[in-house]
């Protein structure tokens, strides 16, 4: 079936199977490979993108379901002149990553979290990240990045 999805402000159309998942559409049809596939079970959150500004796990959404809303991936966060989004900058400054595989999902989850709760406590950040797994960092610097990004707003 033909599916047209608005990704980072531009329309991407592709002919995909009915069962195509949004994450595969983004990676394969739209060529946006920041969004990662990390598990089979909607557990890890590496595939997190924004749907109309809210964080969602793109591995558990059909491409067909995503026709209509605005999809934002990590590639769509930076400003028009390439300036980093505050959450991106905070990850850079606090070194909120090691291998980087979970990082796109973490950043997108936090963009949504901070949109809903602009000044979270550390506990609220940690609970807000329960859907995003990281093996490398122990979450310490990710949480620091989240709090720094909140302070920067």
């Amino acid at each position: 079936m033909k599916v047209t999805i608005t990704v980072n402000g531009r329309e991407v159309a592709a002919d995909v199977e009915d069962r195509a998942l949004l994450v595969h559409f983004l990676r394969d049809a739209a060529g946006l490979t920041a969004t990662n596939v990390g598990c089979d079970t909607t557990s890890c959150g590496a595939c997190t993108v924004l749907l109309d500004g809210e964080s969602v796990k793109s591995c558990t959404i059909l491409a067909a379901q995503a026709e209509g809303p605005a999809v934002t991936t990590l590639e769509g966060l930076a400003g028009a002149a390439g300036e980093m989004h505050p959450v991106q900058r905070a990850f850079h400054e606090e070194h909120g990553l090691q291998c980087g595989f979970c990082t796109p999902g973490m950043v997108m989850a936090l963009v949504s979290l901070l949109q809903e709760n602009p000044h979270p406590t550390e506990a609220e950040v940690r609970t807000g990240l329960e859907g995003n797994l990281c093996r490398c960092t122990g979450y310490h610097n990710i949480v620091r990045a989240a709090l720094a990004a909140a302070d920067a707003r």
């Binding site: 089979d40 959150g45 964080s55 329960e130």
Partner: protein, 298 residues
């Protein structure tokens, strides 16, 4: 990882959805938020041949005060329930429990109708629907039915919905007794409940204590007969047959049913009893939650 092939159909209205399910019969499943069904499909534990996407059906997402009850559209997302001021005021148990489902990403997509229609005893909202004596409104090809929650959940993944019916609305009476509590015992924050309880007044719904969502009948009876909360709570597992699985043995579940329930009805273990106000449990009180997609029996 990838579902088996299926045909995707998009419903533009309730009538459309009913026509599509009539056309495709047993081979079709409704798709709402997709966060109960798609994980099963990705593991090939469910393989419907047709998916009828309800995502564009208008008029099924609302939370309305109807006087004696609150009416909730079946496509209302958990996040909307969690943040609803009306629910926080009138049915705080539901608002709170919806905020405990899964993780934020899941709450942005999952719907109350999808969760209830899925009929998983490990889900949080069925136990809440039981504790609140909700009524589930099902629209069929020729008629509309109102099904009490107590008659809705039949067994694992099986509800009273006929294959050609669509759940459209959940009606929640405004509680007569104000005290409420929701307590979930888990290993990790995101895990399914090992055991959970939803309490509204003297009504108690149990999470993951059987092959279907169920009420703690023995506890409810004891409370009705005037037993002290601690004694009534200790009876929570009576008459239940919880499953043994990767996360807990049946014996541990039966032990827990009394303990979290003790906390939920306001009697902290080892501490003096609190006042008659219900105990609210929020966020970091959870110890953790593994989220294993449930395997249907057989």
């Amino acid at each position: 990882m990838i579902p088996a092939p299926f045909s995707y159909q998009r419903a533009g209205s309730v009538a459309d959805a009913l026509a599509l399910v009539a056309e495709h019969g047993d081979e079709a499943k409704f798709l709402a938020g997709g966060h109960s069904l798609l994980p099963l499909m990705k593991l090939r534990l469910a393989m419907p041949e047709v998916l009828i996407d309800l995502g564009r059906v208008p008029g099924l997402s609302y939370i309305e005060d109807r006087g004696g009850h609150v009416a909730i559209g079946a496509l209302t997302r958990h996040r909307e329930l969690e943040t609803s001021e009306l629910l926080a005021r009138e049915v705080p148990l539901l608002a709170h429990a919806a905020g405990q489902v899964g993780d934020p990403q899941i709450r942005h997509r999952g719907t109350i109708g999808g969760s209830l229609a899925h009929g998983d005893p490990a889900s949080d909202l069925p136990a809440v629907a039981l504790a609140l004596d909700a009524t589930l409104v099902a629209r069929g090809p020729s008629a509309q039915r109102e099904i009490p929650a107590g008659a809705f959940f039949r067994s694992l993944f099986e509800t009273a919905l006929e294959p050609d019916e669509l759940l459209t609305e959940i009606r929640v009476p405004k509680p007569a007794r104000p005290g409420w509590a929701f307590q979930k015992f888990t290993k990790r924050g995101i895990d399914w409940a090992i055991v959970g309880v939803a309490v509204q007044g003297h009504s108690v719904g149990l999470v993951n204590m059987g092959s279907a969502p169920l009420r703690a009948a023995a506890t409810e009876q004891a409370l009705a007969e005037g037993a002290a909360p601690a004694e009534a709570a200790a009876l929570a597992a009576d008459g239940t047959s919880p499953a043994a699985d990767n996360n807990a043995s049946a014996a541990y579940r039966q032990h827990l049913a009394g303990r979290p329930l003790l906390l939920a009805v306001g009697v902290p273990i080892g501490l003096p009893p609190r006042s008659g106000r219900a105990v609210r449990r929020a966020g970091p009180d959870r110890i953790a939650r593994p989220r294993t997609p449930r395997r249907p029996a057989g």
